[in-house]
């Protein structure tokens, strides 16, 4: 146990030391406030939804249970998948193990500490997002401190169990497949898990919650709602546990919590038993495997800038982690589009236009997540190699422009296609489809510029742990800022979209000047969120401070 505490305190010291090197405190305070505003916004939004659901006569509690189950289910899937990814980069591909493995510490302790680290990287975002939800829940049920603590402990144990499962799965993959094949195998597993999630979402049938009109009478609706999708699934229990704690039904709550805790102890014991025994072997095999001959070798194109773009593309495409992430993204997009296509919208035309408009937000979130995963991490992963470009006869502007182009063009294209296809799936009018596709391509452009800005402003150049890069301060603030931008443009465009809709249905004349003004505001907002960060990125990239960081000195 002494080894375990020593290693854990080492990790804590490293974490605390990262706060000592705080640069630009004013900037950090500003963006932290932005993050707090975002969380507050989420709280008010969730509170409205929960208040609405709980006040629905007769069926309110049951619908709430379903809704909470859905939220917990999504958290569970995210925890398992993130833990798998995090375990691969934090445990098995960790550079740190080169230093720690030769140390006279017990394998089990080392594995336990690395597993905790992987789980923290995987879960902390879920915990942050759960805070406004918990606050909203507490507001509705008027929870006292004890009840709140009980709910938090239950969620913590649940999340830890899911993470242990994810790390165990990653360990299995790492043990079976050496080297890069872990990731290839992970792609398949991710696909299956995501497919399973989609299946289960269908099993939960959230459309029945919101479409009571498809049932003949209320009794049918109630019995459908009360019918458990998967009665043995742990997230169903957790939602029942929350309800039991909130309503003061302690015997039931204690029983479910006890079962949960036993599950957690079992999962953690299995993980530590297996992980502690196979860690050294897996790490040795991963490092020793592969002759490293790429499948294809392409000629470097003529011209300096073409050579830079070629290098960016080839390094990206040969990174199997990035490719597997693209596969996951593709799977998510496919699920999203299928859901859109199969959505029970009826024949009311304006609903389709309305959903096409709201769809801009969903596409924006997909683009933001993709920019975090590919652009932000891509820039950070390239940081330690910038010495080659800085010492070459290339101007900083040339290097950056080439990098921008490599990422911007696919994102603008991806945004346009995603906006157009999802609009088409909603069977919206061609004008609406084109307009949303155009707006989505603008979002694609903006999020790339933001990702570059935050990557060079808060660089994570000395790590190749993707989970660590994504969950760094810059990554989080990038996400918050991008979501802020998407919310801003949706607010600006809401009125023109409404007038456009009224014009199509009732032949009302839209106030042209005001619509044009709001359209101009959209352009200006996008310009501000794209070109200001872009200009700042150029300044930072050629600054002394950034060069010091590239040289490994801050």
């Amino acid at each position: 146990m002494r080894d375990f505490w020593e290693l854990l305190s080492l990790k804590l010291r490293i974490f605390l030391n990262s706060f000592r090197a705080v640069r630009h405190p004013g900037k950090k305070i500003f963006f932290s406030l932005l993050g707090l505003i975002f969380l507050a916004g989420m709280y008010f939004w969730l509170r409205r939804i929960l208040v609405y659901l709980v006040n629905v006569p007769v069926i309110g509690e049951v619908v709430l249970l379903r809704f909470v189950s859905l939220m917990i289910f999504i958290s569970a899937v995210l925890a398992v998948l993130s833990s798998m990814l995090s375990a691969v980069s934090t445990i098995y591909a960790s550079e740190e193990l080169r230093l720690l493995i030769p140390c006279p510490v017990r394998q089990g302790s080392l594995f336990a500490v690395k597993a905790i680290e992987a789980a923290v990287y995987a879960d902390w975002m879920i915990v942050v997002i759960a805070i406004p939800f918990a606050a909203a829940w507490g507001h509705i049920y008027d929870l006292n401190f004890f009840k709140f603590l009980f709910c938090a402990a239950s969620f913590f144990v649940f999340l830890a169990t899911m993470s242990a499962t994810g790390i165990l799965l990653a360990t299995g993959f790492a043990a079976v497949f050496p080297s890069k094949k872990i990731r290839d195998g992970a792609i398949v597993l991710f696909a299956v898990l995501f497919g399973g999630m989609f299946f289960y979402l269908k099993a939960l049938e959230p459309k029945f919650i919101f479409h009571a009109d498809v049932f003949g009478n209320l009794l049918q609706y109630l019995s459908r709602l009360q019918m458990p999708g998967f009665p043995l699934a742990p997230f169903q229990w957790l939602s029942r546990l929350f309800i039991a704690i909130s309503s003061g039904n302690y015997p039931v709550a204690a029983t479910i919590f006890g079962v949960f805790f036993l599950f957690f102890v079992f999962a953690a014991a299995v993980l530590l038993f297996i992980g502690g025994r196979v860690l050294f072997g897996i790490c040795g095999r991963i490092r020793g495997a592969g002759v490293g001959e790429p499948r294809y070798i392409k000629k470097v194109p003529d011209g300096r800038l073409s050579a830079i773009r070629w290098r960016e593309k080839i390094v990206f495409l040969r990174n199997s982690e990035q490719v597997s992430q693209m596969a996951i993204l593709g799977m998510l997009v496919a699920i999203y589009l299928t859901s859109v296509l199969k959505a029970p919208l009826g024949d009311i035309p304006y609903v389709r236009e309305l959903l096409t408009f709201l769809n801009i937000g969903a596409v924006g979130l997909i683009l933001t997540a993709a920019a975090l995963r590919f652009v932000y991490t891509g820039v950070c992963l390239d940081g330690r190699f910038l010495w080659i470009l800085y010492s070459s006869p290339l101007a900083c502007g040339e290097i950056l422009k080439s990098k921008f182009m490599v990422y911007t063009v696919p994102f603008v294209f991806f945004g346009f296609i995603l906006g157009a296809v999802s609009g088409w799936c909603f069977s919206a009018s061609p004008v609406f489809v084109f307009a949303t596709a155009l707006i989505c391509s603008v979002i694609g452009f903006v999020v790339v510029q933001l990702a570059f800005y935050f990557a060079v402003s808060y660089p994570e150049y000395r790590t190749d742990n993707l989970s660590q890069i994504e969950s760094s301060y810059g990554g989080i603030i990038f996400m918050v800022t991008a979501i802020f931008y998407i919310a801003a443009i949706l607010s600006i465009l809401a009125m023109p979209a409404y007038w456009g809709l009224m014009g199509e249905i009732f032949r009302h004349r839209a106030p042209v000047r005001f619509s044009a003004l709001l359209g101009l505001l959209f352009v200006l907002t996008s310009f501000l969120f794209a070109f200001l960060p872009r200009k700042l990125t150029f300044g930072i990239f050629s600054s002394r401070r950034h060069r010091n960081i590239v040289a490994g000195r801050q």
Binding site: G290, V291, G292, E293, P294, I297, K299, V300, P301, D302, G303, R304, S306, A307, I308, W310, R311, I314, V315, R318, N319, R384, F385, W387, I388, Y390, S391, S392, P393, L394, A395, S543, R544, R547, N548, V550, A551, G552, R553, Q554
Partner: protein
Amino acid sequence: MIKVENLKHSFGSFEAVRGISFEVSDGEILSLIGPNGAGKTTVLNVLSGILLPDSGAVEISGTNIFENPRKAKGITAYIPEQPYLWGKLTGMEFLNFTRRIYDSGISDEELEKLMSEFNIFDWRNRLIETYSHGIKQKFIFLTIPIINPKVILLDEPLVGLDPIAVNLVCRMLARFVKSGAAILMSTHVLSFAERIADRVSVIDKGKIVFEGWIKEILETRKSSLEEIFLKEIPR
């Protein structure tokens, strides 16, 4: 020729280089020696264009590196201590990339001959992420004939190299010196500095504390670089 005047560089409040001046003539090798953290790598990073100094002037073959960086960098080769290379490129792709960036006229045959000499020909089509430190260092050394520089900057050039490679590096550097290149290198291997350098500068705490000709130190003073090092650096 390298001309450095009153160069200063700091990292935050830490002054790494405090007003250093020196010159390296064409066809000459100057060796920078000094304890860890003395500022040697910082000087080389500024000269290679990676870092921007607080103040001071640097000329590479008569070109001010801060006023005309493209021209100055185009005739400078830099070999860093840590060979960070893109792991997802092959060695051959990295060299070809360097050829494009520097508009090099070196032929495939010449490059292949050099790879064979350095015993890395069989590695050329494997991903760099599978290379050892020494193999990476050898590939970086091959950028020197690609760039065909007038100035060569070397930061701890021997780290990770086998004795055969050290010999090859010495021969390569001698060839470039003969053709008029100026070489500035930092090293902790004092015997290597004695073997190939013409002059030596000892740096401590960001300042040059001793300068001298190697020949003069070895023959007239009957001293060695190690003795000079131990004498000049206060413990």
